[in-house]
């Protein structure tokens, strides 16, 4: 490496050549990386548009003969009762996100704006909870959900998302630090109550943080498989993950139908990603700083 430096200076021509080679290598690796990310999904799209016979006779990389053959999609959507999955997912998503926004911002408001005895303990309790990986405690959580008669209800995942995923509290706490306390104080001089300050000043100013929470929580809840699988086995309560998982047994040999179901699951994610790209990148970059 040290030898390379003077050599490059001595001969600018070789430097230029090396630069072009590096540039080609750069694009080659980028294209290989993009293909590695896309090919597994694209072949699923191909297979989902093929007829049963066509699927059996063509290779995975062969495009479908008719790009508008949506028979598998109809079959997957109707037979797999995916509508039920979407409805349940949306209900759980909306209630959990609204709940997390309120509980998270309320406790963050208290912890960032008030001094009281036991505050450190309270803050510590919320921070420490992130150390507990929820997958390890399911064994005992199950008994609690069961004893509260929440098993096989939509409330089970909702209360678990609210109680164990503390990331919203972090994000709000971080963001509240950037909102000047003088705003609160001037509102108090005007005689505003703490409740008014929270609803009229804090909550509206938290909007960018709320967007982050919606994205991080939304992705996590839409993609969560284990919580609904364990706590809502009833078929009328299936969410999109568990609806998709059920294709595994009965459709084992009909990959073209399973592939259609996979694509149906991916479409909402793709739409959300394309329309909210900027917020999504920022959201995850922010969420990762919680440490």
């Amino acid at each position: 490496m040290q030898a390379a430096k003077p050599a490059a200076r001595k001969n600018t021509q070789s430097h230029a050549v090396r630069y072009t080679v590096a540039s080609i290598a750069k694009y080659v690796t980028l294209i290989v990386g993009a293909l590695a990310a896309l090919v597994p999904i694209i072949v699923v799209l191909f297979a989902s548009l093929k007829t049963g016979a066509e699927y059996g006779s063509t290779g995975a990389l062969t495009p479908p003969s008719n790009w508008l053959n949506f028979d598998n999609y109809v079959k997957a959507f109707v037979d797999g009762k995916m509508m039920v999955g979407f409805v349940n997912t949306i209900i759980i998503l909306i209630v959990s996100i609204i709940g997390a926004t309120f509980t998270g911002s309320m406790i963050a408001y208290i912890l960032s704006r008030f001094q009281f005895r036991g505050k450190k303990l309270l803050l510590g309790a919320f921070l420490l909870a992130t150390l507990i990986p929820s997958v390890t405690t399911q064994v005992a959580t199950f008994q609690i959900i069961n004893d509260l008669h929440l098993f096989n209800t939509r409330l089970a995942p909702i209360v678990l998302y609210l109680g164990t995923d503390i990331i919203a509290v972090y994000i709000f706490l971080q963001f509240l630090d950037t909102i000047a306390v003088s705003l609160d104080e001037s509102a108090m001089l005007d005689g505003a109550s703490y409740f008014t300050i929270y609803f009229r000043i804090i909550l509206p100013l938290l909007l960018p943080a709320i967007v982050t929470v919606i994205i991080i929580k939304g992705v996590a809840i839409y993609n969560d498989f284990y919580t609904p699988f364990l706590y809502m086995p009833k078929s009328s309560l299936q969410v999109i993950s568990t609806a998709l998982f059920k294709f595994k047994g009965p459709y084992g040999s009909q990959w073209e139908v399973i592939c259609a179901a996979i694509i149906i699951t991916i479409i909402p994610t793709l739409i959300a990603f394309l329309s909210l790209q900027k917020y999504i990148y920022n959201g995850f970059a922010q969420g990762s700083e919680k440490g």
Binding site: M106, Y226, Q277
Partner: protein, 358 residues
């Protein structure tokens, strides 16, 4: 119909019977009666409100100086808002984050089956069987595959993040494509890779097209290879996340530093080695440590794809099976406690890194 689903969820017949019994009698287990219910009884809620009131009244006067004449009403409001805004989040946190941990520790010293009304305390027997019976502890070596995959994942993420932080054509396209897999549904990813690795599937077809037929394996049936395949799927899933975090960190480095180094004749490697790497070292370390606890608790992908068969069983899959399939909640709790300890230790190391940074 319903029974089928309960079975699909891995609940044993005995377990379901126990559940029905518990529902029939409408009685809660004594542990829950003691630990959970008080939180929901109104008299206790008021007691905690009272506690807050008592707590506040001592410090209430401290606010006097800062808020001048309005301190009295604000003092009462303070008490009210602290109590109102704390009670729900705190009740949720205690019930669903801390109580399970406490119960888990307790169960780990018992032979409880998950639904019986009685159980015996068995001391450290459950822990003994975990550490002495190779059947239970040996699955930790499966974590090693995911652990090594972590480094591949970090390397790729770092490489692409570095390249894309410089001027590149189609930057946004590549950024989006590399990140997108991270957003996908876990079950969809599991199925995508079942399709990818199945005999005659995508991977075999690609290898054939490249003339590499001799490399074709039974990717998900050969116990020697299955964990490599599954760890590969895991890299595909999580690389995008590390990539976007690294990209964010790299793009916060000031442009002037690159320009100055260009004048000094530094090439891209020098810039990476001496500018980029030092400034994102911490965040790389953090991500590696996070990924280690991820590797130890690998669950989604192997569970959805293989259910832990053919030697792909991970510690978490095993814990879940022991608890919900075989009804050994005592033993499963002990396994979960062991896992919790490992993850907490790893996370504490991470916290130390963060402290050092500050």
């Amino acid at each position: 119909m319903q029974q089928d689903h309960a079975e699909a969820a891995g609940h044993s017949a005995d377990f379901r019977k126990g559940l029905r019994q518990a529902k029939g009698t409408g009685r809660l287990s004594p542990s829950v009666e003691r630990n959970v219910m008080p939180l929901f009884k109104p008299n206790n809620r008021f007691r905690s409100l009272f506690l807050f009131t008592a707590l506040r009244s001592e410090e209430g006067y401290a606010a006097k100086d800062s808020y001048g004449g309005v301190e009295v009403s604000y003092r009462n409001q303070r008490i009210l808002i602290i109590a109102c805004f704390t009670i729900v989040p705190l009740a949720l946190l205690v019930t669903f984050a801390y109580l399970p941990v406490v119960n888990m520790f307790r169960y780990s010293f018992t032979d409880w089956n998950g639904y019986g009304k009685t159980f015996n305390y068995v001391g450290f027997d459950n822990y003994k069987s975990i550490f002495t019976d190779p059947k239970y502890f040996s699955v930790f070596k499966v974590s090693l595959y995911y652990f090594f995959a972590t480094f591949v994942q970090m390397g790729l993420a770092l490489y692409f993040a570095t390249i894309l932080s410089f001027k590149v054509r189609g930057k946004n396209f590549f950024k989006g494509v590399l990140f997108f897999p991270y957003l996908l549904n876990g079950v969809a990813i599991g199925f995508i890779f079942l399709f990818f690795f199945k005999p005659g599937g995508t991977f075999d077809t690609v290898l054939q097209a490249l003339g590499l037929d001799f490399l074709i394996q039974k990717w998900l049936l050969n116990p020697n290879i299955i964990n490599v395949s599954l760890a590969g799927a895991s890299v595909w899933r999580y690389m995008g996340f590390n990539f976007i975090v690294f990209l964010g960190a790299i793009s916060s480095i000031s442009k002037d530093i690159y320009e100055a180094s260009d004048i000094d004749g530094a090439n891209r490697w020098h810039q990476f080695r001496h500018i980029i790497l030092p400034s994102i070292k911490r965040i790389v370390q953090l991500n590696i440590i996070l990924s280690i606890s991820g590797a130890i608790s690998a669950f989604d992908i192997p569970y959805i794809m293989t259910g832990g068969s053919n030697g792909s069983n991970t510690f978490v899959i095993q814990t879940v099976d022991v608890a919900f399939k075989y009804g050994k909640v005592g033993l499963a709790s002990a396994m979960a406690v062991v896992l919790l300890f490992i993850v907490v230790i790893v996370t504490l190391i991470q916290q130390l890194f963060v402290k050092e940074e500050k």
